[in-house]
């Protein structure tokens, strides 16, 4: 991928938790302006850690970027605090629909505009209600009592209130019904196209992520093992088998097919 025009660059970063546990072992990735980039991988591959390293939330969990650098719009941000990074325009939607349970939906959204000041609240709310019309009807409901889909929309809308220059989405599909997931991903595409908002999305649901993203990275045990344009990856044999759950059409999987292990091993080294 060409390095010019990328608003976010991760150069070979290493992340350690509690000064002993090495979670990312040299991850490089880039997010070009106005595009959706996906990070795929299994549990524990380091996807969420990558996002937290970018947004600075890592420091809150006693983790640190110990090597490499993160640049956002030409500035190094890997030493900055989460608050400064948010101020610079990177907003992360944490995994697991972390709403402020005891505030109403609208109050949740208003907290999103915290850094941007009072004048942005009204147009911001209008924008969020435009993309998530469902939230309009429940605006005065307590966030803790909303359904999973509504909560996911709320946290995404809340991030939107911060007028981000880069949105980090962590597993937006987690624990939602297929139809809702579809709706959420349609909105993600809309946000990207209409608002020209670059999005870095982490997903376990590789199939879905590859349909909305233009470029994707595959992470395994803290390393990028593969990257490429979304359509290339979709056609890749390994991706098909390990992430999309597809085998060659009509053929049945057999335990005799030890190539499986070989292929997987090649990735790990």
């Amino acid at each position: 991928m060409d390095t010019n025009g990328s608003i976010l660059k991760l150069n070979n970063i290493e992340v350690m938790y509690h000064e002993v546990i090495l979670v990312l072992k040299g991850v490089s990735l880039q997010v070009p302006a106005q595009s959706i980039v996906a990070v795929l991988g299994a549990n524990g591959a380091g996807k969420s850690t990558t996002l937290k390293a970018i947004s600075g939330l890592l420091k809150h969990e006693d983790g640190a970027v110990t090597d490499g650098s993160i640049e956002f719009m030409g500035q190094r941000i890997d030493r900055k605090h989460a608050e400064e990074i948010a101020r610079a325009g990177i907003v992360q939607v944490i995994e697991g629909r972390r709403v402020f349970e005891h505030l109403t939906v609208e109050q949740n959204l208003i907290v999103g505009a915290h850094l941007r000041g009072g004048a942005t609240v009204k147009p911001g709310l209008e924008r969020v209600y435009h993309y998530f019309p469902r939230l309009t009807q429940i605006r005065h409901r307590l966030a803790g009592f909303c359904s999973g889909g509504e909560q996911q929309m709320m946290v995404m809308g809340r991030a939107l209130m911060a007028s981000p220059k880069l949105l980090l989405l962590d597993e937006p599909s987690m624990g939602l019904a297929p139809l809702l997931i579809k709706e959420i991903f349609t909105i993600i595409t809309q946000l990207n196209q209409r608002e020209q908002l670059p999005i870095l999305v982490v997903e376990q649901n590789a199939k879905l992520a590859l349909t909305v993203a233009s470029y994707a990275y595959v992470l395994e045990t803290g390393r990028v093992v593969m990257d490429g344009n979304a359509d290339q990856l979709r056609d890749n044999q390994d991706i098909k088998e390990f992430y999309l759950g597809l085998t060659d059409l009509g053929t049945r999987k057999s335990f005799r097919d030890v190539k499986h292990y070989k292929r997987r091993k090649r990735w790990l080294t």
Partner: protein, 301 residues
């Protein structure tokens, strides 16, 4: 019957002061999880500070405003010096530090003032009581009630409507999510301590007007503990209602249990008024440990 009404009404009014202090306490607990055992001393400091200003011939309303300002400064300092280095330390350590703080503050008070009871002179509020039918209420109670209500209203509006108020609530709910939106947790903690000092300062000032100022104001301030246990530790409305309940119960205990005699013998040796709130607190903890409105996690149905 008249006595009963009178006890209820004055209890309600004193309770509103407890409610104010309890609100400050709850705020710290909610936002930073610190169980602050020095709240009584914050109340004490407030009383002495406003007394000092009043003695400098500063008009009482202005003295209260200055007390609020001093409260903010002391709150920010306390948080910065004593609490911030402890972020991430075990809960028990932090609680012990607040115990230490309470002795420290009390020591400071003894250093600057005597242990003698001080009285606002000339009295701030007219001593002429107000009569409602057969119920007699001192004006100091009425004015304290009004002042406490106004301040409570200001705080509630602050939490519901303003940017920082919402940010404090958000941090209380989910610190990490708040941080991802750029809400500075450190600032929120500092703000919580500043507000607690303000609330306690005004509370102490009002209590000082009612009882005179001495160390016992600190014990009255400590009544926030039963108040918040009744209300539920992290509920703002709970703190307010809990404070009022404690005020009323305390008055009723003083009015009926203290002079209670059976066959000519006094049942209680006296002082029931002072311990009764703690008895209620203990029962509450046994029966309903989350209090009236404490957070049990919201479960979606």
């Amino acid at each position: 019957m008249d006595i009963f009404l009178q006890l209820i009404i004055t209890g309600f009014m004193v309770g509103s002061i407890y409610a104010l202090v309890a609100l400050g306490w709850t705020l710290i607990y909610k936002s930073s999880g610190v169980l602050n055992l020095a709240m009584g001393e914050l109340t004490l400091i407030g009383a002495y500070v406003s007394y000092t200003f009043y003695m400098w011939k500063i008009p009482f309303p202005l003295a209260v405003v200055f007390t609020l300002i001093i409260g903010v400064i002391l709150g920010l300092l306390t948080e910065r010096i004593f609490l911030r280095p402890l972020i991430g330390e075990p809960t028990l350590t932090v609680i012990m530090v607040t115990v230490g703080l309470s002795f420290f503050f009390r020591g400071l008070i003894f250093l600057f003032f005597n242990t003698d009871t001080l009285v606002f002179t000339p009295p701030v509020f007219p001593s002429e009581p107000v009569r409602l039918g057969n119920v007699v209420i001192g004006q100091v109670y009425i004015w304290s009630f009004i002042a406490a209500l106004v301040l409570l209203a200001v705080f509630v509006i602050f939490f519901q409507r303003t940017r920082w108020g919402l940010a404090i609530q958000a941090t209380a709910d989910d610190e990490m999510a708040a941080l991802s939106l750029g809400v500075s947790a450190k600032f929120v903690y500092a703000a919580a301590w500043a507000i607690a000092f303000m609330a306690a300062g005004v509370g102490g000032t009002l209590l000082g007007n009612i009882n005179g100022i001495n160390i016992s104001i600190g014990y009255l301030g400590l009544l926030v503990l039963p108040a918040v246990v009744i209300g539920g530790l992290n509920s703002v409305p709970g703190a307010i209602v809990g404070g009022i309940i404690i005020g009323v119960l305390q008055n009723l205990a003083g009015g009926y249990l203290d002079p209670l005699t059976i066959a000519g013998f006094k049942v209680f040796p006296g002082g029931v008024k002072d311990i009764f709130p703690y008895v209620v607190m203990t029962i509450m903890l046994l029966v309903k440990p989350y209090g009236l409105w404490g957070w049990i996690r919201i479960e979606r149905v």
